[in-house]
Each structure stands twice: as structure tokens, then as C-alpha cells.
């Protein structure tokens, strides 16, 4: 029996067993990766993670069950588990679970990589990473710094999904993804150390790695780390203006706009783990930033790392304005939260693997670019600081109190970049940060990340991004 027939078979059993709604998903993630550690390949790996899951609604109780044994017998078994466990615990479902009504849909989305990862021979990948490694080492060495720890990782995987529901959704998708990540630790003769981790990734094939020019990227990263441990000064203490680079803006938008705008957090469903939100379901229209702040989450951007056209409840994906002109404009919703708020899903349900339930997630979250060229952002600053990228960060579980520790950072004097500074700290509230923005750059870049949420943990691929932005009158923290 093929996968589609098996899923349909599962739905029919579920309905016969009393489920008012059932949803079946087949998901196969398979791929490979290569790690280079301090110049030598540490490990080549591959994986194939495939299985099926079902969600059932029985008298307002939601049951989820999954298996990697793909057979008729196992389907019957997991449907039975989902229904029995939901029924057995139904007395604890005080708030009955429901799902919003959505348009029935049948569709197929297939993204083809231009260069398949498996068609690139491993020797060439190793050579590329070794070249990146030696260039990084050499460029840091020019500044009398040593890159004592160097880990590079390339990986590629495909995600194939088939989602079928009892209310008329049947969607198939196939999406390939690739990433390149690096983790560098620099040590100067003065014993000062700096560390950098970052990841670039797209939906696509090896062509995305080629486009990155990782050798050139590592030359710059090595040089920056070298300078950081030998030349950087302590950051100033005064109140000043701050320019944040695209990479910092990306994480800010993800942590401080995307996460608090997830309706399952707002409703308390994540309360015990990832937490809740400083927003409430009545916060639409609330002013949280200056009127130049526009934050978007859009799963439909071609080649993006967080790309999808149908979410994992089979709802069509679309662009969502989370913050428009400084005001909360829209929340991220799946069918479960939309039922509670009496709205429609906006296609934000994602499950990281076959054995995880679909929950509200971001995809590609970024601040929309404005009109300012980078030089123009600096022009208006007498004394300030430019934080191009970051190292440590964290935020409280209501997404209000956050901290970003700058890595590559410079003093700005009379509109010009001057000395490098070590680890300036931005420690601000969400509204404090977004309200301090007075100018938004015209540049736009994206970084890949794996966003963690859910219980058990689900890591999903996302892009975080944005332009450079300017903040006025900020006290550095730390």
C-alpha cells in the first residue's frame, strides 16, 4: 500500500473509532553532512528519518501518535493509541480543543535543487572546507591571533511531506535545504579570546553553498576575529546612538516580534516550557515601536531556509505583517489557536519531524528595509557604536527583556567608523528597543537558524534577517 493510501486508511479507521477530525502526515527527512574540525574531517554522516503520524479529535480531546514502521498494521496500532489516550484522559480536557474551518485543498509543491548534494563528490567538499579553514587561520594569524578552535559543517537534506485531513486537505511537498555553518574560537598572544558562530542556508541544492563563497567569507571572519582579540577596546559607558547590522536585526525580529506574536504562547499553550508572551490576544493595534518599524514573517520567499507553500495542517502559506508602522498587526496562528480566537489560520503550523505535532512557528522573519543607505545611517551620529553581528543572546520567556552581545563592533565618531570595540551589550526591553529605532537601512540580508520550541523540542529551519537600523539614545548594558 502506498503512503497516500495508508494515510487515507488511517483516517477512515479514526473516523470509525469516533474521531470528529483526523489528520495524517507522512514525513521523510533524509540527508547528509560533513564536519571539519581543526583542519581535519571529523565525520561524514547521513540519515533517513521517515514515518507517519496522526492527530485525532475525539469529543474535544486531541490525540497525537506516530510511528516509523510504515505498514497497515502499525497504522491501526497508532490510530488506536491516539484515540485511546485521548479518550482515557478526556476528563482532563477542561477546555475542549477545536480546529478552525479552512478551505479544502489538493496541491503538490516540488522544489528541485539545481545541483544535488549527492552529486558533489565528498573530496571536493573536504577541499572547500579545508581551504576555508586555512584561509581563516592565515587571516587571523596576520593579526598575531590564533584560531585555536575551528569547526565547519556543511549539510543538506530533503523534506518530503504528504498531509491528508478528513476535511478535504491533501497536500504533497518536497523541499531540499542546504546549510554552511562555522564555529571559530580565536586567542590572542594577550590571552584574550573571541568566538563566532553563524549559519547560512537556503532551500535548494549545492548551488547555494557555491554562491556563498565560503572561502572569502572565512577570510573576512578570520581577520575580524584576529583584530578583535588584538585591537578591540572596551566599549564606552555613555548614552549613545547605535547602528545594528542586519544579523542583529534578524535575531531581534525573530526573538522580540516573531515569538511574542505566536498565538499558542499568547494563549498559554507553551507556558511550562518556552513560555508565554508580553502580548495578549487583544494587543492588535498596540504600539510597540516607532512608526518606521515593519516586521514581516513570510514562508513563501523563494530559496529561503524557512520556505513552504502549505503548512503542516495543509493551510496555504502567506506573508504576514507582524508589526506595521510600529503597531502589532497580526499574530501567527494555526488551526488550533484560530479556533480559540474565532479567526482563520494564517498557515503557521509546522512540525519538525514526522514524530512531532504541528505547532505555531515562524518561517522567515525580518524587518522590511527602509530608504537609508548605510552611510546615511552613520551620518547623523556624533558619537555612537555600530554592532555588525553578535555572539551571546537571550530573552525572557515573555519575550520582553532581551540581551544581545555584539561581536564585530566599532565606535562611530562624526558619522565615521573608528576603533573596534569588544562585546558591547544591548540589554533592553522589546518596546524600548523597537521604539528607539529612528531610521531603517535599504540593505537586506538573511541568516539561517534552527528555531527551538515545543515539548518535546522541535527545531525548525528559519531565516532571520533585515536591514541595518539606527537606534537613538541607548545606554549600553552588561
Amino acid at each position: 500500500m502506498d503512503v497516500e493510501s495508508l494515510l487515507k486508511y488511517g483516517l477512515s479507521i479514526a473516523q470509525k473509532s469516533g474521531a470528529s477530525y483526523a489528520e495524517g502526515r507522512y514525513q521523510a527527512d533524509q540527508g547528509e553532512g560533513l564536519m571539519l574540525k581543526n583542519g581535519v574531517p571529523e565525520l561524514a554522516s547521513h540519515f533517513n528519518n521517515a514515518g507517519i503520524s496522526f492527530r485525532v479529535l475525539v469529543d474535544g480531546a486531541l490525540g497525537f501518535a506516530a510511528t516509523n514502521k510504515i505498514s497497515k498494521k502499525e497504522v491501526s496500532k497508532v490510530i488506536d493509541m491516539a484515540i485511546k489516550s485521548a479518550k482515557a484522559a478526556s476528563f482532563l480536557f477542561k477546555d475542549k480543543v477545536g480546529l478552525s474551518e479552512e478551505e479544502p485543498k489538493e496541491d503538490k509543491v516540488v522544489i528541485k535543487p539545481r545541483i544535488k548534494f549527492e552529486n558533489v563528490d565528498q573530496e571536493s567538499m573536504i577541499e572547500l572546507l579545508r581551504e576555508a579553514d586555512s584561509v581563516a587561520l592565515e587571516s587571523a594569524g596576520k593579526h598575531e591571533a590564533k584560531l585555536v578552535g575551528r569547526i565547519f559543517f556543511v549539510r543538506s537534506w530533503t523534506t518530503e511531506k504528504r498531509i491528508i485531513t478528513t476535511d478535504g486537505i491533501n497536500v504533497y511537498s518536497f523541499i531540499p535545504r542546504v546549510t554552511f555553518s562555522f564555529y571559530l574560537t580565536a586567542l590572542g598572544l594577550n590571552k584574550l579570546a573571541s568566538q563566532r558562530f553563524a549559519e547560512k542556508g537556503e532551500s535548494g541544492g549545492w548551488e547555494a553553498i557555491e554562491k556563498l563563497d565560503v572561502v572569502h567569507m572565512m577570510k573576512n571572519e578570520g581577520e575580524t576575529l584576529g583584530k578583535l582579540v588584538t585591537q578591540a577596546k572596551s566599549p564606552p559607558k555613555d548614552k549613545l546612538d547605535v547602528v545594528l547590522g542586519s544579523e542583529v536585526v534578524g535575531i531581534v525580529c525573530h526573538e522580540s516580534s516573531g515569538h511574542p506574536g505566536e498565538m499558542d504562547r499568547i494563549l498559554g499553550r507553551e507556558a511550562a516550557q518556552a513560555g508565554e508572551s508580553y502580548l495578549t490576544k487583544d494587543s492588535l493595534g498596540k504600539v510597540v515601536g516607532s512608526n518606521v518599524v515593519n516586521v514581516v514573517d513570510d514562508p513563501t520567499i523563494p530559496h529561503s531556509f524557512g520556505f513552504y507553500l502549505y503548512d503542516d495542517e495543509g493551510v496555504k502559506a502567506r506573508k504576514r505583517y507582524l508589526i506595521k508602522e510600529g503597531k502589532i498587526n497580526e499574530f501567527l496562528q494555526n488551526r488550533e489557536t484560530a479556533f480559540v480566537t474565532g479567526t482563520k489560520s494564517n498557515g503557521a503550523a509546522r512540525a519538525s519531524q514526522y514524530n512531532r505535532e504541528p505547532i505555531v512557528r515562524m518561517a522567515n522573519t525580518y524587518m522590511e528595509p527602509g530608504d537609508y543607505k548605510f552611510d546615511e545611517l552613520l551620518e547623523g551620529i556624533k558619537f555612537g557604536i555600530y554592532i555588525k553581528n553578535f555572539t551571546e543572546w537571550n530573552i525572557d520567556d515573555r519575550r520582553f527583556n532581551q540581551r544581545y552581545v555584539g561581536l564585530e563592533s566599532y565606535i562611530i565618531e562624526n558619522g565615521e567608523l573608528k576603533d573596534m570595540v569588544r562585546n558591547p551589550v544591548i540589554e533592553m526591553t522589546t518596546i524600548g528597543l523597537f521604539s528607539s529605532v529612528d531610521a531603517v537601512g535599504s540593505d537586506l540580508d538573511f541568516w539561517a537558524a534552527t528555531c527551538g520550541k515545543g515539548d518535546p523540542m522541535q527545531g525548525v529551519p528559519v531565516w532571520t534577517g533585515g536591514p541595518s537600523i539606527r537606534l537613538r539614545n541607548v545606554n549600553l548594558g552588561g
Partner: protein, 443 residues
Amino acid sequence: MSTREIVSRVIKLAKREGATDAVARIEELEWYMLRFSNNSLTVTKSLLEKELQIFVCINGKKASCSIMNLSEEAIKEATIKTVRLAKSSRESDLYAPLPKGPFKYDKKFKKIGDENIDVEKLPTLVKTSIESALSSGASRVAGSLIAQKVKVLQETSGNARSEFESTMYNLSVRAFADSDATGQFAATSTFVSKMDAEKVGRMAGEIAKMAKDPKPAEAGVYDVVFGPMTFADLIEEVVDASSAFSVDSKTSFLVDKLNEKISSKEVTIEDDPLNQEAPGSSPFDQEGLPTFRKKIIDSGVLSTYLHNSATSKKMNQKNTANAGLIRPFPFNVVVSEGSKSLDELISSIDNGLYVTNNWYLRYTNSLTGDFSTILRDGLFRIRNGSIEGPIKGLRLSDNMLNFLKNIEELGRERYWIKWWEVDVPVLTGAALVRQMKFTKPTI
């Protein structure tokens, strides 16, 4: 094909294809979760899963794979592909031949925990924890209960054949007395009979009640009592940094600290893979070596890194049987028992804080140990040896070596902690730590 036949075939095939070393491991999982929020269940989850992991070396050339399709054809294909990947790789400087067996494993650990998961008991545990938190002062309660049974079967080309099965329960409860007055507690065991849902709910509820009407906190350097949840998280970070892989990668703040005094003499931290009640227990590591209890920090001195064969050979240190084929890891972490109760620890502080929980720990630099983590749930001001009242909005922004150095006293009453933020089970009490730095937002 039986599970034993599968792993034997993988080893034979890998060797025939040219592997000098091979490990095949199958984990069979039966897993349940009840997840709740706002005093109501939100979902029940069940999972049946069987996964094959293969690791091969051709001398120092390494490759691994994990697959979930266990058909004969898929297993053969995966094994051949894994050896092929190793062939086209290059020699790693982290390599040692797998240990040669056969080995004797402690028979008491062939079965750990309950015979089976009694699924029908699970809703009652959740109900008890919710009611307990509510009756202790919470107005709403969230959390999750996990129950699992795992069967592990492993074989290596070093003639190490091993298997065991275990059960695990993990309950985490977060109580809300108000939107900014919360308390959290957790428990874990291999036996359902040891899961005290009433106590977990009560402790979360009592912290939440105490945390009502918090005042804004002042940033500064404080003496602090870390409750078991936070201390478990910080100690897990220390033990994680003791993995020889991190040390070799120069990403650990414990680089060059072996045999140095890094903490006070009160602090002894052990890795204990052989504990009937601890869910991380395993009679063998991923290279098939019999596991054993070892001190990582012995009366304040860093006494070993955690090793597998490859890291122990490269560093010329004793193998601790903590493979992780690439990265050695701990099984269960045990912090030594102190002499003081929580109240006595608090009474040792004139001007400080009592921190009950934290999350989101990130490093500015893991080599130096500079980090910060957000405090969450009940946070209290201590003055003149007693709790003055709840406060809010602080972040612990300090350094791991500084944290270790400043530990002064350990608590007497210990708990097995494991939850969303603490992955490896940690047995610990509260702890008194002097002079830690706390920051807060500037705007």
C-alpha cells in the same frame, strides 16, 4: 530479521566492505506524553519508534548514519553508503580502535525501572500535580508528563555485544499565581512509584504564591542561593564542558584546568551511569565498554574529562567509558550532598538573592566561560538571612569559572532534576554561591 540479527549483519557487512571498526545500535522506543496548560490537557502524544545507528571507521576515517527504515534492503544500502563515505573522507586526529571485548556487564542493569509503562496511571499523575499546585496558591497550571520505555541493543566489531531496557518518567509543572508570579519544579525517575506528583505541584505552587506582586530588581553583584532547578542547569553546563571533545575543540572553559582546583572543597560532582533510579543509566557506553561511576570534580579539583577511546588516546588520559562515538557525554550527574537545609543556606546571606529557576543560557565565549542566563519564576530578595520579598527582571551575567570558584555551601535535600532546560538528569540540592553579577535592561 530479529534486532540481534540486524546489528550482527551490519557489523559483518561493514567489515566486508572495508571498515576497520564498526558499531551498530538499535533503540526501540515506546513513548507517551500528556501536555497541559491553563489547568487543562492540551494534547496526548504517543510514539512507537525503532532506529538503527551505524558508525564505521577505516582507521581514522569516520562516518555514521541513522535510519528508521529497517527493511533488509535499506539496512544493506545504509551500511554500504556509510563505509563509502568513510572511504572518501580523510584521517581524523581523533581515532583509536574500538575496545576489544567481550565485556561483562552488570546484570542488575539489564532491566532498569518498571517492567512496563502503565499508561492508565498517567492521567492521574497529571491530575494530582494540577490539583496540588492549585491548592498551594496557583490560579493556573501548565506542564508535561513523559513516560517512556526504551530497549537498546548494540554490537561492535570489537566483539562487544550488549543490551538493556529502561523506563523513564519526567514531570514538569509550572504554576501561575499571576502573569508575573510563577513557580516551576520537576521530577524524574525510572520508577513510576517514585514520581511524587503532589510534591512537584506543591513546590511549583508554593513558589508561585510567594512570588506574587514582585518589585523591580536592582542590578548588581549579590550573594545568591540557587534552588535545585537553577543549580542543576549550571552544573549540567560544567559537566558538558568536561567532555573531552569540547576540550579538544577549544570550546570549553575547562581547557587546561585538569587537576586544578576550580571549586570549593565542598563540591564533588560525579557521573553515575549505574543508578537504578536515574533515567540516564546505561550499563555500557556507545563503544560497548562497561560504564562506571567517576568523579569529574573531586573536592573542588577537576579530576577527569569525560572520554571515549579516541579522546583518551589523543590526550593520553584514562578512558572514562563515556562514548559518544564522536562526543563523550555524561549519563547521570550527581552533586555531593551538603549539610545545610534551604533555610540555613538563605540564613547565611545578609544581602542577596534566592533564584528558583532560569532558562536560555548562552555564552559570549565558551572558552572563557562568559555567559548569561535569564532568571524566570520565583526570584526573591534576601536581607539579613531571610526572604524579604519577590523581585523580577534580572539576568545572571557572569562567568562559569567564577561561578565554580564562588560556590560556598551545598544543600542537604537533593532532587533528581530533568526538564526542558536540563537534559541530563542531575541529582542536586540548592547551593550558596557568593558574589555573582546580575544585570537588567537599561530601557
